[in-house]
């Protein structure tokens, strides 16, 4: 009796595999079909609901895809990193206006934001970016090496190392600075939790790492062993390694984890402007000059016939209006005149460049962030 139960019930095992061993006769088939329908009275409805969800999803996608193209002229795609959303939202509107005045053509500009490394990979893998505006030169370098940027000295094609705006890093601490954090040296004290993303996956995290290492090098008179030891102790104080800058900010502000967050100066200034009464900015004595770099993606602009407008777009970043917008969004304009105009919003600190201390991105990457390099070793002990 009980066996007959299992025999009749086993076959319709959710329909994930068809059993070819016993092909039933027509009668059995029809019977099964009928049985199937009566047995799963609400199955079709359930499928219907999923279909509706899927439809809604694709409709939303389709809408999103149409969103950017309201002009009658050409379209530019700017692939950028995370914190530039607000800057480019305003800059793009200004450039569209500028280009219309100059040429009469109404272009439209599409933006793509995300982690800098991931964005560079998207460009390498074929997203048709006309220009890239990424967090670090190393990511643009990767695009160049993939053959999409024609000249190896692309960084000299535009003024100021192709960095129209610059930034640096600062600390965000909780109101009243309860752990009394003043400088990099305080980050390795026992009981201080530091929030910084994973340098393997985040652009700003690499700047954070290098800034801390650079500070330690100076502090210990250039002793690499002591600097390495410092950076190791620093990361032992990191309880959560987020994959990107925005995630780290969420961990610090929303989850209330950690005593200090290391992040872009412009992000922190923006956060404080947005009514951040719970926090204070602490400026370390020494930090790194971060140069987010921009470049024309030659292979794509030539294919799409957008070279003239893409070039004008990048040059416009260096115009008075472009520089003013950069300052307004808390970046440090590369033009000294506008840097002076916004000087009172930037804390006064000494800055070093990656070329001075580490000999450029390629060498820094090999030494610290490659497979099995210093950062990996920290966690193997």
């Amino acid at each position: 009796m009980r066996a007959s139960g299992s025999e009749t019930q086993a076959p319709p095992a959710a329909g994930f595999h068809a059993d070819h061993a016993d092909l039933p006769s027509t009668e059995v088939w029809i019977d099964r079909l009928r049985h199937h329908h009566s047995g799963h009275a609400d199955l079709p409805r359930r499928h219907g609901r999923r279909a509706v969800l899927a439809l809604a999803g694709s409709a939303a996608l389709a809408l999103a895809a149409c969103g950017g193209s309201d002009g009658d002229g050409r379209t530019l795609l700017n692939v950028s990193y995370d914190p530039t959303r607000e800057l480019y939202a305003e800059f793009n509107a200004a450039f569209i206006e500028h280009w219309r005045e100059q040429t009469g053509e109404t272009i439209s500009i599409e933006m793509s934001h995300g982690g800098s490394g991931r964005q560079a990979r998207a460009v390498i893998d074929g997203i048709g970016a006309d220009v890239v505006t990424l967090a670090l030169a190393a990511d643009v370098e990767a695009v160049q090496q993939a053959g999409l940027i024609s000249s190896a000295d692309w960084q000299q094609r535009l003024p100021a190392n192709s960095a129209p705006y610059q930034s640096t890093l600062a600390f965000l601490v909780r109101k009243g600075n309860p752990k009394n954090i003043r400088d990099w040296g305080d980050l390795v004290r026992e009981g201080v939790d530091v929030i910084t993303p994973n340098p393997k996956t985040s652009g700003v995290a690499r700047w954070n790492f290098l800034a801390g290492y650079g500070w330690a090098l100076e502090e210990f008179g250039g002793d690499e062993q002591q600097a390495t030891d410092f950076i190791r102790r620093l990361y032992q104080n990191v309880p959560v390694l987020d994959t990107a800058a925005r995630g780290a900010s969420t961990t610090f502000t929303e989850r209330r984890i950690g005593d200090v967050l290391i992040n872009w100066e412009n992000e922190l200034l923006l956060a404080l402007k947005g009514g951040g009464d719970d926090y204070e900015i602490v400026v370390p004595s020494l930090s790194i000059l971060a140069e987010p770099t921009v470049a024309l993606v030659d292979a794509n602009v030539d294919r799409r016939g957008t070279r003239d407008v893409a070039e004008a777009y990048l040059e416009f970043l260096y115009s008075d209006l472009g520089q003013d917008l950069a300052g307004k969004h808390f970046y440090r304009p590369s033009n000294p005149e506008f840097l002076a105009k916004y000087a009172d919003q930037y804390p006064d600190l000494r800055l070093f460049t990656i070329d001075e201390v580490f000999g450029g991105w390629t060498r820094a990457t090999e030494r610290f962030f490659a497979d099995g390099a210093l950062f990996d070793q920290i966690y193997l002990e």
Partner: protein, 297 residues
């Protein structure tokens, strides 16, 4: 004329061992050739070619380098986290998913339709949203985290957190595979078992459970496979500490972020092979449990 004759012959004297071609032609709905062609083309385009690309990308590297890439200490630690926690989460889902399916099919209660719809939510929710929501809930300051942290249970930024996320995304698989089987299950069989003197436990263990095992195994396998590949929700709640709470998909992403495509695909290969092996084992178990069920008759 010919086919009519053939038809008559099969009806008149069914061959005890009919050859394959003839049996196929007896299907009510014609078009085996066409639908099989579509199936193969579709599977090739959507599954086989992308997966083959993974292997081809790896083939550029030598065997030694491949081995080094997939056995470095950090990667091995991530396998343990990913496969270990996924296994736990899938087993948990098998138990609780079964109970949910049972409630939904055996009882009529208010809001049943709503509960039924809720089960699908982990399917529909973007995984990043799930990750954010779960982290907010289970972090030390969250509604649920507050209850656990005083007991010394770290529900976020730990393996426990990964377990929570993987259990969340895997739940619908078990419920939705077990539910239809339960719906089809004849209550009379249970009544018959009872009338023959079997107690409740005996009826459940000897009559109901054997019929459900194949579906449970399917649900378990799907939940497990989904958990092994899950990235979006886990990275928010896991803390991503190398050697401790880093999942293998994150290791792959880390290699990609460093433009190290060969190492990324090498680790992906290992995951692919391991997942395939797991699914194969579960499939065999399922066959075996079905054959046991049938043999008892």
């Amino acid at each position: 004329m010919n086919s009519e004759a053939a038809n008559q012959r099969t009806q008149a004297a069914p061959d005890p061992k009919p050859d394959k071609a003839r049996r196929l032609s007896r299907r009510v709905i014609p078009g085996f050739g066409l639908s099989m062609g579509i199936t193969i083309t579709w599977l090739t385009l959507m599954v086989l070619i992308p997966l083959a690309a993974v292997f081809i990308r790896t083939s550029g590297m030598g065997w030694e380098e491949f081995w080094r890439a997939v056995t470095s200490r950090q990667v091995v630690a991530s396998y343990k986290v990913t496969f270990g926690v996924s296994l736990l989460a899938a087993m948990t889902n098998a138990v609780f998913g079964f109970i949910v399916a049972w409630i939904l099919t055996r009882y009529r209660f208010p809001m049943r339709k709503l509960v039924d719809a809720l089960v699908d939510l982990p399917f529909a929710l973007p995984t990043a949203v799930a990750g954010l929501a779960l982290t907010a809930l289970y972090a030390e300051t969250g509604w649920l985290g507050q209850l656990f942290y005083p007991l010394g249970i770290e529900t976020a930024y730990s393996r426990t957190g990964i377990f929570i996320a993987l259990t969340f995304i895997g739940l619908p698989f078990v419920v939705r595979t077990v539910q239809p089987v339960l719906e089809d299950f004849d209550r009379e069989v249970e009544e018959a078992a009872a009338s023959l003197g079997a107690g409740r436990l005996r009826t459940f263990v000897s009559v109901v459970l054997p019929a459900l095992v194949p579906a449970l195994l399917t649900g378990f396998a799907l939940a497990f496979a989904r958990a092994v590949g899950e990235y979006g929700s886990v990275i928010f709640i896991s803390g991503n500490m190398p050697m401790r709470t880093e999942i293998t998909p994150l290791v792959i992403v880390k290699h990609l972020e460093n433009y190290n495509y060969p190492h990324a695909t090498a680790v992906a290969c290992v995951m692919l092979v391991a997942s395939f092996a797991m699914l194969l084992v579960v499939n065999l178990l399922q066959r075996w449990s079905e054959s046991i069920g049938q043999a008892r008759g």
